[in-house]
């Protein structure tokens, strides 16, 4: 019964790219997936679960039913999804991207280290506030592994702690060290109105806040909205993550100090490339480390124009 026909009418290999949610970050990755599919001659498709982990499970199960040759997954809770991933690994070629599941039988991992990227972001904060100051962190959710690590990286870098990705500071605690004070971490569960309200309430509660850090792609634009309405643009520093248009525009204008960008396009593109090769029987593309690093980069006013132009060309927008 395990007929993995896996052949579409055209005889092309089928590859699925499963994300951990829906976000503009993933729509960039989807562009990479599409480009990869065309370039390497496979049917590549992006799937974004809406309802978290049970939805992701359902999607993967149904993909296996439908018969795909290769799957790239960004597991939401890697520690507890081993079973599911192992089933997937038996029925198709499985790799992970964005977030790894080292205990599973996945073939390899494509992505970056969120903790390190977080530290890069923390360094930007120190740059923006050379004399120290108070910082509030904004993020969509804290339960995902990548968001926990990213946030921890930011905190550790700001406070000048040594690298320790396993660390976790509870979100409600105020942390202080060598002139920097972290006021807290606010989540919004992807409700943008709530995200903006978080920023506004922070400005009300801490009128003297010196820097706001938005760690999910949509957070920095919301920070800019709130600051704009409070007439505090430029007065309160903003440090960002990801490459929302409003964020990049803010860097150009100087209202955002800088942002750390991953390379979602490359996540998608590279995942398809690797899976295309493996499914065609060429396992040599898997490195010995089972890890392909797609490093994050810091974008500041100096390099923003060039980055933005490149991004637009990849996405096919003007």
């Amino acid at each position: 019964d395990r007929k993995n026909s896996g052949q579409s009418g055209s005889g092309k290999k089928k590859i699925a790219y499963v994300t951990n949610g829906v976000a503009s970050f993933w729509t960039i990755a989807a562009a990479g997936v599409k480009a990869g599919g065309e370039k390497f001659g496979v049917d590549a498709e992006t799937l974004m679960p809406v309802e978290g982990i049970s939805d992701q499970k359902r999607m993967i199960e149904d993909l296996l039913t439908r018969g795909v040759d290769g799957i790239a997954v960004s597991p939401i809770d890697p520690a507890n999804q081993t079973d599911l991933l192992n089933i997937a690994a038996k029925r198709a070629k499985l790799i992970t991207h964005d977030s790894d599941a080292p205990e599973s039988e996945r073939l390899m991992y494509i992505g970056m280290d969120n903790y390190k990227a977080g530290r890069m972001c923390g360094d930007l904060v120190r740059e923006a506030l050379p004399k120290g100051g108070s910082v509030m962190i904004f993020i969509g959710r804290l339960e995902q592994d990548n968001s926990k690590r990213r946030r921890q990286g930011v905190i550790d870098a700001i406070l000048g702690r040594p690298e320790n990705p396993a660390n976790f500071d509870p979100p409600g605690e105020v942390l202080e060290a060598n002139g920097y004070k972290i006021l807290g971490t606010l989540t919004d569960q992807f409700d943008r109105a709530k995200g903006k309200a978080n920023a506004e309430d922070t400005l009300a509660k801490h009128p003297d806040v010196s820097c706001m850090v938005g760690l999910f792609g949509y957070n920095p634009p919301l920070l800019l909205e709130a600051l704009g309405q409070a007439n505090k643009l430029g007065q309160v520093k903003v440090v960002a993550f990801d490459e929302d248009d409003a964020t990049l525009a803010g860097i150009v204008k100087g209202t955002v100090h800088g942002t750390v960008v991953q390379n979602p396009y490359m996540y998608g593109f590279k995942s398809v490339e690797i899976l295309a090769e493996i499914t065609k029987g060429n396992a040599s593309v898997i490195p010995a480390t089972k890890f392909i690093d797609i490093p994050a980069r810091q974008i500041r006013q100096a390099n923003v124009e060039e980055f933005w132009a490149d991004l637009k060309s990849k996405l096919g927008t003007k």
Partner: protein, 330 residues
């Protein structure tokens, strides 16, 4: 009026407590934010109140907010439509959705819960389809339009607080809605049919037409809310924009004295209900650092408030009865 006494009291108590616990609460900036949020949620809550008065329900509000909120910037950006055209399309779609709901509910006699639940699923799904899950916003264009949501109207003689523009919209909507509901024959018809549709029909009222009207008002105000929300936030992601707003709207309406059995409701109550929800969220943000239990606190406060209200009412009734008894015996 008596109906909203309890909830108004609760709102005042929460405000006083918050003001005592956090000095930022009464700052002009915070008040402006609160008023703006209350206005935005108040508008969609007033819409759903009309439907609730008829004994129906509208679960599609959040999805209409999503459709309109994402659709407007999408049209402007993808098709470069002139603004008035885009706004007209948005208005037509909102009205059309209400019309569709109303027609299916009255002519085909399908339960409002089912019809609008399907609406909840469809409109967000459609939005995700045409936007291809992309986020849309206005960037730094259309600032003139955005004043509708983000603008502040300074008050003479008062410094540090200006009236947020959406409040004016809310005021207009609320005054019209209150006049409509309480002073016109159509409002009277809505109340009558909400309690006893047969009685209304036997009195020669075209009940179907009135029910359709209520759904049109609901989705039109949801559409207006959607526009104002996206103008405020300046970014809309189809997957979550406006998600569960129908619950907030219904909760505000019910807190404000609307009975889901139909035939009861007051516009001022709805606004007070919407304000209570926003003040509670604000209170938690300003006074604690454990913001993740926010909803636990909101839920508990509302529940306790409603219970207290009920107990006070009962006590009053019992006292009146005891008085009457005493008077009789003496």
């Amino acid at each position: 009026m008596k109906k909203i006494f309890g909830i108004t009291g609760l709102l005042i108590v929460v405000c006083i407590i918050t003001a005592l616990a956090s000095e930022s609460f009464l700052s002009g900036y915070n008040l402006e934010n609160l008023v703006r949020r209350t206005a935005l949620f108040g508008i969609i809550s007033i819409g759903v109140a009309f439907v609730i008065v008829t004994g129906g329900i509208d679960l599609s509000i959040g999805s209409v907010v999503c459709l309109v909120g994402c659709g407007l910037p999408w049209m402007l950006k993808t098709y470069h439509l002139p603004l008035p055209v885009a706004l007209a399309v948005v208005a037509a779609v909102s009205v059309g959705i209400g019309l569709l709901h109303g027609l299916i509910i009255t002519k085909l006699r399908i339960q409002p819960f089912v019809v609008t639940l399907c609406g909840l699923m469809m409109y967000r799904g459609i939005t995700r389809g045409f936007t291809r899950d992309q986020t849309f916003g206005f960037g730094s264009n259309y600032d003139g339009l955005r004043v509708l949501s983000t603008g502040n109207i300074p008050l003479p003689f008062i410094k540090g607080f200006a009236i947020p523009a959406p409040w004016i919209t809310l005021l207009v909507v609320a005054v019209l809605a209150a006049i409509f509901l309480n002073r016109t024959i159509w409002g009277r018809y809505l109340f009558a049919l909400g309690r006893n549709e047969e009685a209304a029909r036997y009195s020669g009222i075209n009940t179907d037409r009135m029910v359709i009207l209520a759904y049109v008002i609901s989705s039109t105000l949801a559409g207006l809310g959607g526009v104002l929300f996206v103008l405020d936030v300046n970014s809309a992601q189809p997957v979550d924009f406006g998600n569960v707003y129908e619950l907030y709207a219904i909760a505000a309406a019910v807190l404000g004295g609307c009975s889901l059995r139909g035939g009861e409701g007051s516009i001022i109550g709805v606004i007070v209900g919407a304000a209570l929800m926003q003040v509670l969220r604000n209170m938690i943000m300003l006074t604690t650092t454990r913001t993740n239990i926010e909803f636990a606190i909101i839920g508990a406060v509302i529940l306790l408030g409603v219970i207290a209200d009920e107990l006070v009412k009962r006590y009053a009734v019992r006292r009146r009865a005891a008085k009457a008894l005493a008077a009789g015996q003496s």
